[in-house]
């Protein structure tokens, strides 16, 4: 069990280090950093490399934003196999819908509890 935690910590941490370097060294904006990591996750999954990373590091690979890119591509490929071209669209939404819904619902609750104007 300790091993699982250890590798989740190391891999998750390394992904964050990459993000921090993009931010501090290459002076990317938070928006650019975020979307670059999403794209990186998507590309990795396109080559079939992200699933093995999840098997190895668990939450260390599923929690960082790269996992969102992975889910998009993963869902699209999965459904494309079953339903052809239309599955590319539905698949993307299917796998990522829980994440997006959670963002909307918790965002809504947050806005009710606090003053959302910045």
């Amino acid at each position: 069990m300790f091993q699982t935690f250890f590798w989740a910590f190391v891999v998750g941490g390394l992904i964050c280090v990459v993000g921090q370097i993009m931010f501090d060294v290459f002076k990317l904006t938070p928006g650019h950093t975020l979307s670059s990591l999403v794209v990186a996750g998507a590309i990795l999954d396109g080559f079939g490399l992200y699933e093995p990373l999840i098997d190895f590091a668990g939450a260390g690979a599923t929690i960082p934003i790269t996992s969102f890119g992975n889910s998009l591509v993963h869902g699209a490929l999965q459904e494309a196999e079953k339903h052809g071209i239309i599955g590319v669209l539905t698949g993307m939404f299917e796998v990522t819908s829980s994440g997006i819904s959670a963002a909307i619902i918790f965002g809504f609750i947050g806005a009710l509890l606090f003053k959302p104007k910045g």
Binding site: F23, D24, K27, P30, P116, K117, G118
Partner: protein, 336 residues
């Protein structure tokens, strides 16, 4: 009278007859909280938006300054004010409240001294008996406009500075008791090609140095003429860069008499990274803290060099560099 390239000497020595400073919660916890006239516990100032709170900061500073000078609103002939918000609405809306004729200024964080310089010039030549001038900034309103929305919580590098929530106002009179405005040097726009909005101090330092050198050259004086030369909001990094630049240009400045408002307003343990910034920074520190120290006899002659970064959120997004400016005004009290 014009002296040299860009310096006005005010022979009639207009007087700063009263000042008022207003601050927010972060300033109340800071280093010079005793020097504020009004402090607020809450950033919202009981308003619906930060922009409205920003306007209230200004209104309170204006009202307090008029009250401390024992004047009425009707006696204020002109208002010269500015801030950092789009179209300087907090200044204009606060000027609407006072009701006097108004000239809106934009010099970013150099606005405080831009206003004092122009106000002193007008008063010196008999253009007015009383002029109200001031500058203000509100941390959340300004950060939202220039950086990222506050609730977004974007990370900041250690070179970033903390925008002051505060307003400083002064009334310049033809005659009266108080510190006198003796000269002013108008700065030019200096752009060294820096484009990182999280390192404004570094970008502004060359402008500050340019104006200080111009002032000393025009008036044929040494830095030691002043008991204190103080820049507006260079912060830790900008302050060091400016000292290096002056050394490079052969100007040896005594580092104990060369300070920065952005390094005075907060305590060392407040999480402000490289220091304070914002139009309200030099306005509150000079019109509150520094004039108080002058009145206590600590300084007789000071030179205030307010520094401003003349960028807009749009120009930064379009990857333009940050042009900067600095205006210097000399204030004397209790001298010969």
């Amino acid at each position: 009278m014009l002296e040299g390239q860009s310096t006005w000497i005010f022979e009639n020595k207009p007087v700063i007859i009263s000042t008022a400073t207003v601050g927010g919660p972060f300033e109340a916890n800071g280093n010079i909280s005793d020097d504020f006239d009004i402090l607020h516990e809450d950033l919202w100032l009981e308003q619906e938006s930060y922009e409205k709170a920003h306007k209230v900061l200004f209104e309170e500073a204006f009202t307090k300054a008029i009250e401390k000078a024992n004047l009425t609103k009707e006696q204020i002939q002109f208002i010269l004010a500015g801030d950092l918000i789009n179209q300087i609405t907090p200044s204009s809306f606060a000027a609407r409240t006072v009701g006097s004729p108004y000239l809106g200024l934009f010099g970013a964080c150099s606005t405080s001294m831009e206003g004092l310089a122009i106000g002193a010039y007008i008063t010196n030549y008999g253009g007015a008996d009383y002029i109200l001038t001031g500058a203000a900034s509100h941390n959340a309103a300004v950060e939202k406009q220039f950086r990222y929305p506050t609730e977004y919580g974007g990370q900041k590098p250690p070179t970033a500075q903390w925008t002051v929530t505060g307003a400083g106002a002064a009334i310049i009179g033809k005659i009266g008791n108080g510190p006198q405005v003796t000269s002013a040097t108008i700065g030019r726009v200096v752009d060294m090609g820096l484009s990182d909005p999280f390192n404004m101090g570094g970008a502004m330092a060359p402008a500050a140095v340019d104006t200080i050198m111009a002032h000393l050259r025009d008036r044929h004086i040494n830095p030691s003429y002043y008991d204190l030369i103080v820049t507006g909001d260079l912060g830790q990094i900008g302050h060091e860069v400016s000292i290096d630049l002056m050394k490079e240009k052969g100007l040896n400045i005594n580092e104990t008499n060369y300070q920065d408002c952005g390094l005075m307003i907060y305590r060392k343990d407040q999480p402000v990274l490289a220091g304070a910034s914002g139009a309200g920074c030099s306005a509150t520190v000079v019109y509150g803290h520094l004039l108080n120290r002058m009145k206590q006899g600590e300084f007789k002659k000071i030179l205030v060099v307010a520094t401003g970064a003349l960028l807009s959120p749009l120009s930064f997004q379009q990857k333009e560099s940050i042009p900067c400016i600095a205006h210097a005004v000399s204030i004397e009290y209790g001298g010969e």
